[in-house]
Structure formats: structure tokens, C-alpha cells
């Protein structure tokens, strides 16, 4: 059992935290480079100001960012790309697949402004299929940190790895911090925040604090629900999924992305091939292009917020 903050009790800011982490790393590693397709100032403004020689702006050309990073990495540099996840993965998805993953280029990518946290931006800017797309790329590690602190842990873990890593942030500002205590972070090892008796909610990214809240409310009704922070979608922590499935036979997955192919897809694939009898309900964005609205509106109308999680646990 991990001690956690209440929903929105403590807010974190992944973007400035990563900005600071990059600055520290860049001092120690002169081969570090930050690359962005003109959105760097929105993400890492201090870094850009203080380390102009270690920053490249490719302009609004996302594919160029991927290809440039690949070339630099193949020559031994340590490039990180910061970009909007919808454009990283749809406009420049081939760059990630063919010029980073296929080349074994040691490139790290941060996908920001994902899911529906973009607020009124609309579906041109919502990254809803990024998880499904990226899960299929061989050699890629795909991480969806649940909060700002974890995003920095993922940054540090990625720097220790030789190979491509994709870190998918939410908005990166004013989002719930989850953990009250420090913990060991490792790609591919999900975190069992709470053990369950009557089911599990497996969440990733910014949905984790909402899952914690749902479990808390269910507990008040006498329903003991476990919560898993599945921060790495690839490689996914199969053992933890097996455990949740075996113990309770009931799993709800939650993600701020299309339910097709993302976290829900990964959990269903794992459960289906395990032979364990377990019902799974996937919550997230259904098969439609969402309109405008706040994140709360989106959760309510599309059905993946706290109430939807509680309902799913009770009905499956």
C-alpha cells in the first residue's frame, strides 16, 4: 500500500521539473541535446535560454526533428525531442518507427499535451491514438508517468538506457501529484498502489490519481478495489496484470486515450492469453472524435472519470 495524496490535493508541474532535470543533465553531459519542432519554448523555456548551444529548433517540422535526432544519436549525441504527442506520432510517426527505432538510435522523446488535457483545442490536437501506435514499435520503451515527480524519474531512467524511449506527459502543468512517499521507479514494473479484493483499476498517466480517488470512494461503500499505476505500457508488467486478474477476476482499465490499442488493449491481450478467467472493462475515449470541453467535461461525457470507474467496478 502506497501513501498517496488526495485528488488535486498537491499539484505538480512536469514541464518545469523536466526543464530543471535537463539543465542538470546537460551540464554533466555535453552531448545532451534538446530538439523541438517550435514548441520548445512552451515546454523547456529556461533550458533554451540557458543552454542555447544544446538546443535545436527544427521549426514546425516534426519529421525533421525525428530525423535530425536520429542522425545525431547515431554519431553518439544524446538527443531528447520535446513535441506535441499528436504530431510526434501521426505526422512524424514514421520518423520514430523507421529512423529511430529501426536504426537503434538512442533518441528519447517527450510527447506533451496529450489526451484531452488540451482543453478546448479539439481533436486536431488531442493525442488519442499515440499509445496504440507506439505500442507496436519494436525496441521502443513507452512510458506514461502519472505525475511530475514520476516524469522526472522516467527522464532519469531513460538516460540510463541505450535505446529509444517515449515519455507521454499530460498537460505537464497543474496536475495531481500521486505519491506522498519516495519509491523505486523501473520501466516495465507497474506500481501496485493498493491491493484489491473486489477488483482492480489499472490506470496510466494522469488517470492514476482519479483511479485512486475512485478506489477511495468505493472503499467507503465497502468495496475493496486495488489500484495499479501502469506507467510503462511497453514493456507492460504482465506479472502485475496476472496478479490482479487471478486475485479478483475483475479489471477496469483507464486511460486518457482511445480505448482501442492502448493500456486497455495491452491488459486485454495479456489477460486473454493468460487463461485466467477475468472480466475486463476498458474506460477511455470511445471510438469517436471528441469535441471541445474541459478535462472534467470530457471525462463525464465520454465516460472515463471517477463515477464511470465506480460504475464499471460495480457492474462487471
Amino acid at each position: 500500500m502506497m501513501k498517496t495524496y488526495g485528488l488535486l490535493e498537491k499539484l505538480g508541474n512536469a514541464r518545469p521539473d523536466l526543464d530543471n532535470a535537463m539543465q542538470k543533465y546537460a551540464v554533466e553531459h555535453p552531448e545532451f541535446r534538446l530538439i523541438s519542432a517550435d514548441v520548445g519554448r512552451a515546454g523547456m523555456p529556461e533550458f533554451i535560454q540557458k543552454f542555447p548551444k544544446q538546443y535545436y529548433n527544427t521549426g514546425i517540422a516534426e519529421m525533421a526533428a525525428m530525423d535530425l535526432a536520429s542522425g545525431l544519436a547515431l554519431e553518439g549525441f544524446k538527443p531528447w525531442i520535446y513535441g506535441m504527442s499528436v504530431f510526434n506520432t501521426l505526422r512524424a510517426g514514421e520518423g520514430i518507427r523507421t529512423n529511430i527505432c529501426y536504426q537503434h538510435a538512442n533518441v528519447k522523446i517527450i510527447g506533451c499535451n496529450t489526451g484531452l488535457c488540451q482543453g478546448p483545442c479539439g481533436s486536431t490536437h488531442y493525442a488519442l491514438e499515440d499509445l496504440a501506435i507506439l505500442r507496436t514499435f519494436p525496441t521502443l520503451t513507452l512510458c506514461v508517468p502519472c505525475d511530475a515527480t514520476q516524469a522526472v524519474k522516467a527522464f532519469e531512467a531513460a538516460n540510463e538506457m541505450d535505446g529509444p524511449v517515449y515519455i507521454r506527459l499530460g498537460n505537464g502543468r497543474n496536475e495531481s501529484e500521486v505519491y506522498m512517499e519516495d519509491y523505486r521507479f523501473e520501466f516495465g514494473k507497474g506500481i501496485e498502489i493498493a491491493e484489491g479484493e473486489d477488483g482492480y483499476i489499472i490506470a496510466c498517466g494522469m488517470m492514476v490519481p482519479y483511479a485512486v480517488e475512485a478506489a477511495k470512494q468505493l472503499k467507503e461503500e465497502g468495496i475493496e478495489v486495488g489500484v495499479v499505476d501502469m506507467h510503462t505500457l511497453k514493456p507492460v508488467d504482465k506479472d502485475l496484470i496476472f496478479k490482479a486478474a487471478k486475485k479478483t477476476g475483475k479489471i477496469v482499465t483507464v486511460e486518457d486515450a482511445f480505448i482501442i490499442g492502448g493500456l486497455g488493449g495491452a491488459v486485454c491481450e495479456t489477460v486473454a492469453e493468460s487463461g485466467i478467467a477475468c472480466r475486463v472493462k476498458r474506460l477511455g475515449v470511445p471510438d469517436l472524435f471528441p469535441g471541445f470541453g474541459t478535462f472534467n467535461d470530457q471525462m463525464d461525457h465520454l465516460g472515463f472519470g471517477v463515477e464511470a470507474m465506480k460504475e464499471a467496478i460495480k457492474t462487471i
Binding site: M63, A64, D67, L68, G71, L72, E75, N99
Partner: protein, 284 residues
Amino acid sequence: MADKETIERLKDQALEMRELILKLSAKTVIHLGGDLSMADMMTALYMYKMKKNLDYPGKWPERDRFVLSKGHGAGCLYIAMAMAGYGSIDEIFDTYGAWGSRYGMHPCKNQNPGMEVSSGSLGHGLTLCSGLALAAKERGDKHHVFTMLGDGECNEGAIWEGAMLAAHYKLGNLVALVDRNMVSLSSPTEEEYGGLKLEPLGDKFRAFGWNVVEINGNCMEEVVDALDDIPAADTDIPTVIIGHTIKGYGVSFMEGTPKWHHGMLTDPKLLAQALKEVRQTRYK
């Protein structure tokens, strides 16, 4: 200007490369039209211009880099590399396309670590090479980065992202060669029905801030001159050498037609004729 002996040697090697391309196409599907058009430039790069060190274990840091942006020209690249000492012609002929082979239709560095990068998806080479060139420039390395583009490939928007980027970052150590054979997979590039018109291609690169050199890419003297004249690696303007070539060069029934963009030369009579004609072309 290289001496006459060197030019003659290179012409002989270009002929040998073409003969091997034709013989390989009798065994397997390759993109022989474009292989034949770029063979002179590939010969001059691998057998004359590029710095290499075959005695160095692994990849020599000071080597000139080469990326085949038009990755479908892999047949020509493999043969050029083997002729230059990287790999063997026999292995190409014996294993091409088979499971576990280092040689397939598009270069793969996972299968063949001698490759600088894997390629085949068109449009990426220029920007990826900009990364290689920018790394070299930042380190003060003196080698060049060469890439061969197909002309049809220049319809890809990514080429022009790369063109902007290389000029912006002052990559004088980057040299793009364009195999301007005027024909893509389906049609001549300048026809109404043939892709998007590319001309004036040189002016386009010039407008993007590049040093532009236009040559007859099937004339060894001009190719060698152009490569002799590229700016030093520590200069600021990237260079494009637009090699005006003929698709299927040297074989009358292949020249200038999309029909032999890719395929196999399975008819022994046609193969014999093609081999005879490339030899005649060498000595004409």
C-alpha cells in the same frame, strides 16, 4: 582534375558495376533502372572520393559517411561497397533476399552493420544526414556526409524540411547528390501525368540556400570534377550535385523508360544484349 589514368580506371569500374547490376537483376528483383543511372556517381564516391580505412576494426571515425536516401538503389550500393572492400560480390549474389542475408531490397544496418543507416522510406535521408553532419560540425570533425537522393524522391516534403534545416545549421560538410534521371516509378517526372514537376530543381535548392552544381551524372570526368570541387567540411553552405543521368543508362531498351524502374532481366537474350550494350557505352 583527376589524371586520365584514374578516370579510365573509374570508367572500367563503373562498367563492372553495371555488369554486376545486370547480372544480379537476372537472379532477383532490383531497381535496375535507377541503379544503372547512378552507377557513375556511386563509382566515383566509393572508388575515388570517400575517405575510408579498410584496416580499421569497426567504423573508422574519420570516414566519410554515405547514406543512400533512395534506398531502393540498394543493389547498386551493395555492389559499390563490395567493390570498395566492404563485403563480397559472391555473398550478394548467393544470399540476396534470403532469410538471414545481409542483402535485401532496401539497406538494413541491423542485418548489415557496415551500413551507415537503414533506408528505404523516401525523403528521410537528407534530414537524417543533417543530423550526422551537425554532429560532425559540432565536434569539429573534418569528414563529409554524402547522400544520394532520387529525383522522384524530391516530391517528398521531408526533403525540403531537410533542405531548410541543412542551410539553417550551415552544414557545409553535407553533400547531396541527386540522381536526376527524369523518371520515377510510373512516369517521367516532368509530364503532366507524372508526379509533381520538379524543375527548376537547381533553382529550388539555390533558393533554399544551397550551393548547386549541375553536371552530366553519367560523365565520369564531370562527376569527378564536381566531387573534387566540393567545399571543405568546415564551410557553411551545403552542396547539392544534381547529376543529370539517364534511367537505365547504357541499355537501349531500358533507357528513359519507367518500365525498368524495377524488375528482373530473366530473358538470357536480353541479358546478353544489355551486357554487350553497357560495354559499348563504356567505350563509345
